[in-house]
Symmetry: C2
Subunit: 325 residues, 2 copies
């Protein structure tokens, strides 16, 4: 017996209506240099130009806009040191709702400042001692807050899927769609759209080599928990696929591939120097797979999601220096 | 007796038809953070995402597409170590025309490689010994080449003006339009558009402090030649305004202001960190003037042209390191 998927194309279309005029409709950009280099027509969806710097705003805003008035009056809770934190904080400020964000004590000060800058209350926890899941649950129950999960929520997945809807509306039919893969919210949302619009479109997820939990889970046929290694792709350091996202990925995604940190840096440098776009390591993983020749895309129309751009200049300088050094 | 201006709104509209589908229609982007910071609605025209990395492609392609078949068969000649070189090289490769580019021997190797990468022949000259103007004329006559000037040509000015046409079409009416100013091709083209569409729009040009030839020429009432100082804004190091561009600037531009290197770096950092856009120093001068509070834009709708993005990662790293250090 196959359970129905937690997400449909209609859900994503409804989310697109809900976020219209609030989320940016980010541009789709291309480059003849890129096309010549990979021998395909490549269309990049620039979610690094999204509000709060990443696709995460789509899901966070959509989810919070669908809460009841009572839920919004009590406030929401998120746990994230990254792009989801800023997305929830911004969405709450737009929807007039209090946001509390649990962040590890060692989160980058710039991320904390950005989250607080959007008006959220940051609560610290010790990443090495505290049980994050339990803390989140306890805090939510104690204060009557509604948890907005970073990916494992159909409303968040539907919001993320609007990325692919816009890409395909603007770029036309795709032979292949390549998407960064961490918790799986973006990939599952985009897969529902791509397959729903045209079943022949191949959908590919890209993980960092050091965090290949989905690749291994697909091989095992069930969600397996891995030891996450060191990688510059901090947005994808997850130990286990999502409970809701994994079934969608398993049902609809044609292939998951991995990329090395070196391949990610190569893609970031290409985006910087040739496309004039600042893209963070996790945001560049899908393009990294295409540039590295990991995929057979010769002669095809290939959509690639650049999922975020939140890397500060000091970090970029240190990444550049490490490159080839 | 006032001479007629060398450029009209109709010329720019015709140029827009000519470059349609060849030049990118670059996105107009905004940011609530930016709006809050300057107290205005700011709409950025991202010409750093233009083909060959700068607005220059518009004028170069338009000009070369308007040459006769005989002229194109003989080939074109440009003199530039910067964005115009790459723009002419790319335009020629698209129009099936031979390009020769005069470049100083000390031009950055990356710019030379990019120009040659588009198929142009690079001819070196010594910036300190050779008379560039004379060299260009002699070479053109000797080889029967048509010179494509970087700004002082009505076809180049009309092509550059399409930047403002698209900005206003996409963003709606503007109270103020702020444009980087070097030779004056971009500013004069944009001024003809902005004033032609709505006479009440204020048009402002922005020069680096170290290269304020237009500001001083406006004060003197005639084109004056200055000693150009050191500045990071390498695209605007010009000693004298253009013969054709200056009358347009004088007739239509409301004000010229200058910005310091520090203000330019501040704007580049904002664009990098908050907008995820790579913009070169000259490309960021117009935004620098807005961010620095040099202009009274409170409560207004302000268009700002980001004119180019050709700064390589090594240079950006060295600029960052110099900043506040």
């Amino acid at each position: 017996v196959t359970e129905p998927l937690p997400l449909s194309l209609a859900d994503v279309r409804a989310a697109a209506e809900r976020i219209r005029g609030v989320a940016h409709r980010t541009p789709v950009v291309g480059s003849r240099t890129l096309d010549a280099r990979v021998g395909a027509r490549v269309l990049l969806k620039a979610e690094n130009l999204q509000r709060a710097g990443a696709f995460k705003f789509r899901g966070a805003y959509h989810c919070i806009s669908r809460l009841s008035e009572q839920e919004r009056a009590r406030g929401v809770l998120a746990s994230s040191s990254g792009n989801h934190a800023q997305a929830v904080a911004l969405a709450c400020s737009l929807l007039g709702c209090a946001a509390t964000v649990l962040m590890p004590t060692d989160a980058p000060p710039s991320k904390r400042r950005a989250t607080e800058g959007y008006g959220a209350t940051v609560v610290e926890f010790d990443r090495y001692c505290d049980d994050r899941e339990r803390l989140t649950q306890e805090r939510a129950e104690r204060d009557g807050l509604t948890i907005v999960h970073a990916y494992d929520d159909p409303r968040v997945m539907a919001g993320a899927g609007t990325t692919a809807l816009e890409l395909i509306e603007d770029a036309g039919p795709l032979d292949v769609l390549v998407v960064p893969l961490g918790g799986g919210g973006l990939l599952s949302g985009c897969a529902v759209v791509a397959k729903g619009l045209r079943a022949a479109t191949r959908v590919i997820g890209v993980e960092p080599q050091a965090s290949d939990d989905t690749l291994r889970s697909l091989a095992a046929g069930r969600r397996v928990t891995i030891e996450v290694g060191a990688t510059i792709a901090d947005g994808q350091q997850l130990a286990v696929p999502g409970r809701l996202t994994f079934p969608v990925v398993r049902a609809l995604v044609d292939r998951v591939v991995t990329v090395s940190d070196e391949q990610i840096l190569e893609a970031m440098a290409f985006l910087f120097e040739r496309m004039k776009l600042v893209v963070e390591p996790s945001g560049a993983t899908a393009l990294a797979a295409v540039l590295a020749g990991e995929l057979d895309v010769s002669g095809l129309r290939v959509g690639v999601v650049l999922s975020g751009g939140n890397v500060d200049s000091a970090r970029l300088v240190s990444l550049w220096k490490g490159r080839g050094g």
